[in-house]
């Protein structure tokens, strides 16, 4: 159900960003970028880093917002940050189905585990864009199928 998934590095540059309706990619990029501020805000508000995974999940970052162009999604941005300050931002379209919080959490968990798999790859240099096919396929499975 996600329309956009982004993995942001610690230095706030994107390691992986992918949106499903490809024509609005830039728009999604902007949305993700703006949500980074919210993420940072939440992180700083949390104080010291907490290892609890629940703390990693930041929840809804921003109130719903509509697309400006045709299909008006009810877009919700969710954030998730790892202990290494790698952030996952996901934009979901909840106009069709309202995703429960648990579902979002599980999606983030999947993202996180795939991300760690990518990290484990010795051929992956941290800081590179994530080009792993496994990661791509996992993200694809999560994303909306837009015809």
């Amino acid at each position: 159900m996600a329309v956009c998934v982004a993995v942001i590095a610690k230095e706030n540059y994107p390691l992986y960003i992918r949106s499903s309706p490809t024509e609005n990619e830039l728009k999604f990029h902007y949305m993700v970028h703006t949500s980074l501020d919210v993420v940072d805000e939440k992180i700083s508000a949390m104080g010291k880093a907490l290892v609890d995974q629940r703390e990693l999940y930041l929840g809804l970052l921003y109130p719903t917002e509509d697309h400006k162009v045709y299909p008006s999604y009810l877009l919700c941005r969710y954030g998730y940050v790892t202990n290494s300050k790698v952030k996952f931002v996901m934009v979901v379209d909840s106009s069709n189905t309202a995703l429960r919080d648990n579902e979002i959490r599980s999606m983030f968990r999947k993202l996180h585990s795939s991300y760690t798999d990518v990290m484990c790859n010795p051929f992956y240099n941290p800081g590179d864009r994530i080009q792993s096919r496994a990661f791509d396929s996992m993200v694809t499975s999560m994303m909306v199928q837009v015809c």
Partner: protein
């Protein structure tokens, strides 16, 4: 008979062949029929075959005993290698490749093909058949040979293509084998990398030298996944590794030779079979041994792990791109711990080897490479189990990205084409009458002047046909190509429905569908079935009417339905006008119905008429199907115009007055409201000037029409007439092309409008949400 010394490989091969020919199971006599068939498959000239038979003594004896058969086979090999046929040659010619037999037999080929693609089938069935030399592809590389062993196992998966035994064809022979391989490109390609043992590659590369090595290797070498072997050579980054590599394959091959020749046991066969099934993904024993050795160089403890960094260093030596290495790592690090166990390492190494040999990396780890499978077996059995599993599962994964996929790819492509054609067919919903008329006239032209077969076909078959027809005639060459064609075809169809009277709906649906070419295909237009019917009806009428008069009458049929604006509208389109005008005129004169059809071109005039009334509709239409409509409109317009032109030309013959055209314009405009609206958008610009010119062009049109009809009448025999018509058609095409581009531009503008409207709408919406 002269003493015949056969190498082990040859022995094996010949015995297989003999058993193949020994259909009566006498074990002594090879059926003459089969033998002759076999010799024919050897692709030798008849006299050579006769000579062989004579030499081997079969002629004398009257039958092919085993010895005679063997001698004959040897002589076949001799002949195929280009040596003169002499009795002594069978023993004197050294390093003779195995005789090659083209798989003339379907079963063999199918088996080979099946084996290659499916991995599972042929083995069972193929046992004993002429063992296709696995080295076909290899021949190129000097590999091959493993086949003698393979034939036993009947696993030619490596050679799906044909039983051609291109064993170790030395480089000179490789072209020949290669050709054979080309028959089964898929197989050949895959085979190639599989071919030879490492050392072969290098010698092979040097041309002749490889053959000898190949021969030697060929005899015994089991067809372990070629990639590994090749990889060994290529992977030899370090000298020690290379030596190890070169040595390895040779030793391996020797081992295999011994194994194959000596054992011919089920185990071996199974192993080979499995290996052949599993092809690239199966790790042979030799390979595994090599991998284990490599593992030891990094991590002496076989139960330990290779840390990621060390593995990275090691695999980077293979000079594969980092991205691929990363992917290989993902595939092979099964437990995702960042370290490689022995099995994981072997899998990774195997993948690297495969990749070096050109195989594409699979998306998932092949079963044969899965650590758990390998763990279950010791080194000896490694081949078997993984192979077995492999070939149940690997076929899907087998690299055959080269080979097996090719046939599938090839298969899919025609399907795609068909589907596209289908969609094209779907799209063109017959909307306007005119197109049909034009189409009919075109058909007439075609029937008379050209080779088009089925006049009804275009209508019936719908767009593809229509487009074809039009294209053929060169009259209906819609400029824009696909879209245009689609449109045109749709137009033709529309014409039919119009006749039926489904005008508006058809048009709409048509318009909806026509955009399909550009946008996601809308649901198949319902009218089509009716269209087809109508079209068929039309066609019948059309065909029934070969004369001009009849044509007019026929034309009248289609027009009946289509109140579409286009037909009704006076001939608008530029080119068409000259043609259409006459046609329209004739139509109007012939029947009121006809007029509406033809006026597809007249759409422009209609548009004008509708301009005021249809503005609203237009907007609505735009909002709804903006992109769709416009293209459709445009297409239909262009198509109709073309068709009108055609029909007009035909009608011209019959009638003469250009005045009616104007009249028709007046009548038609009212017919199809929505279409005209859309057209209006684009056509307005064009129609106005066109309309103005219309009358002017009428005269020209009449002239053109006059000339055009002559073509069909003369059945295209008159070259000049044909050329003239061709010229006219080309002009029409250019005009239509121009029209199309203009319409496209209008479409874009309308689209932008729509987007802006939507944006506004969206802006208004949020309030509703809150």
């Amino acid at each position: 008979m002269e003493g015949l010394t056969l190498s082990d490989a040859e022995q094996k091969y010949y015995s297989d062949l003999f058993s193949y020919c020994d259909i009566e199971s006498t074990k002594k006599v090879a059926a003459n029929g089969r033998v002759l068939e076999l010799f024919r498959a050897a692709q030798l000239p008849n006299d050579v075959v006769l000579q062989i038979m004579e030499l081997c003594g079969a002629t004398r004896l009257g039958y092919f005993g085993r010895s005679q058969f063997y001698i004959a086979l040897k002589l076949v090999a001799v002949a195929q290698s280009g040596f003169p046929l002499r009795v002594e040659s069978i023993n004197t010619v050294k390093d003779l490749p195995l005789p090659r037999f083209v798989a003339s037999k379907n079963e063999q080929e199918s088996r080979h093909a099946a084996s290659y693609s499916s991995d599972s089938e042929n083995q069972g069935s193929y046992s004993g058949v002429i063992p296709p030399p696995p080295g076909r592809g290899q021949a190129k590389k000097g590999s091959v040979s493993h086949d003698t062993v393979q034939p036993r196992t009947s696993t030619d998966q490596q050679e799906p293509a044909s039983p051609v035994v291109s064993p170790q064809q030395s480089p000179p022979n490789s072209p020949h084998t290669w050709r054979k391989h080309s028959r089964h490109p898929s197989g050949g390609n895959s085979e190639r990398p599989l071919a030879g043992p490492g050392p072969f590659w290098s010698p092979f590369g040097e041309a002749q030298s490889g053959s000898a090595a190949a021969d030697a290797v060929w005899s015994g070498h089991s067809p372990p996944p070629p990639p590994p072997q090749e990889t060994w050579v290529s992977f030899a980054d370090t000298p020690p590794t290379s030596t190890l590599l070169t040595m390895h394959p040779a030793s391996v091959q020797d081992q295999t030779t011994v194994r194959t020749v000596a054992s011919a046991t089920t185990a071996n066969e199974i192993r080979r079979q499995s290996s052949s099934y599993d092809d690239p993904w199966k790790i042979t024993d030799e390979q595994r041994q090599y991998y284990v050795n490599q593992f030891k160089t990094i991590q002496p403890d076989l139960n330990g792990f290779i840390p990621g960094s060390a593995a990275k260093e090691f695999f980077t030596k293979s000079k594969l791109p980092i991205l691929e290495l990363s992917h290989i790592w993902e595939l092979s690090d099964f437990d995702k711990d960042g370290a490689l166990t022995l099995d994981e390492f072997c899998a990774a190494f195997h993948l690297v080897v495969a990749r070096k040999n050109g195989y594409d990396l699979p998306e998932k780890l092949p079963e044969s490479l899965m650590p758990k499978l390998i763990d279950l077996e010791d080194s000896a059995d490694v081949g078997d189990q993984p192979g077995e599993v492999g070939y149940s599962g690997s076929p899907a994964e087998a690299p055959p990205s080269k080979s097996p996929s090719m046939p599938s790819l090839n298969q899919t492509w025609p399907e795609l084409n068909q589907s596209s054609e289908d969609t094209a067919i779907v799209h063109p919903v017959p909307i306007r009458m005119t197109p049909s008329k034009i189409h009919m006239q075109e058909m007439e032209l075609k029937r008379t002047g050209s080779d088009h077969t089925n006049p009804t076909s275009p209508l019936l078959v719908k767009p593809s046909d229509l487009s074809e027809e039009s294209k053929i005639n060169s009259s209906v060459k819609f400029a824009s190509g696909n879209t245009v064609d689609g449109y045109s075809s749709s137009d033709s169809f529309t014409s039919d429905p119009e006749q039926i009277g489904n005008n508006v709906t058809h048009q709409r649906s048509h318009s909806g569908t026509s955009p399909d070419n550009t946008a996601p295909p809308p649901p198949p237009p319902r009218p089509q079935p009716s269209h087809s019917r109508s079209s068929s009806l039309d066609m019948n009428r059309t065909f029934a009417v070969t004369t001009g008069q009849q044509q007019a009458g026929v034309v009248a049929h289609p027009p009946a339905v289509p109140p579409r604006p286009q037909p009704s509208q006076a001939p608008g389109p530029v080119v068409h006008r000259p043609v259409d005008a006459d046609g329209l005129i004739t139509h109007t004169s012939t029947s009121p119905q006809q007029i509406p059809e033809q006026p597809n071109f007249a759409d422009f005039s209609q548009f004008e008429v509708f301009a005021a009334s249809n503005v609203n509709e237009e907007q609505d239409d735009e909002a709804e199907k903006h992109p769709e409509v416009l293209p459709v409109e445009k297409a239909s317009d262009s198509a109709s115009s073309l068709r009108v032109a055609k029909t007009d030309s035909k009608i011209e013959e019959k009638t003469a007055a250009s005045v009616p055209a104007n009249v028709s314009k007046g009548t038609t405009p009212l017919a199809p409201p929505p279409k005209p609206v859309r057209r209006r958008l684009k056509s307005e610009d064009e129609l106005k000037p066109e309309v103005d010119e219309h009358t002017q062009k009428t005269g020209v049109l009449a002239a053109v029409l006059a000339s055009q009809p002559s073509i069909p009448r003369s059945v295209g025999k008159d070259k000049k007439a044909i050329q003239a018509s061709i010229r006219r058609n080309k002009e029409t095409n250019t005009v239509l092309a121009r029209l199309n581009s203009e319409l496209q531009q209008q479409l874009k503008d309308v689209l932008e409008e729509r987007i802006s409207l939507e944006v506004q709408l969206e802006q208004l919406r949020p309030f509703s949400h809150l």
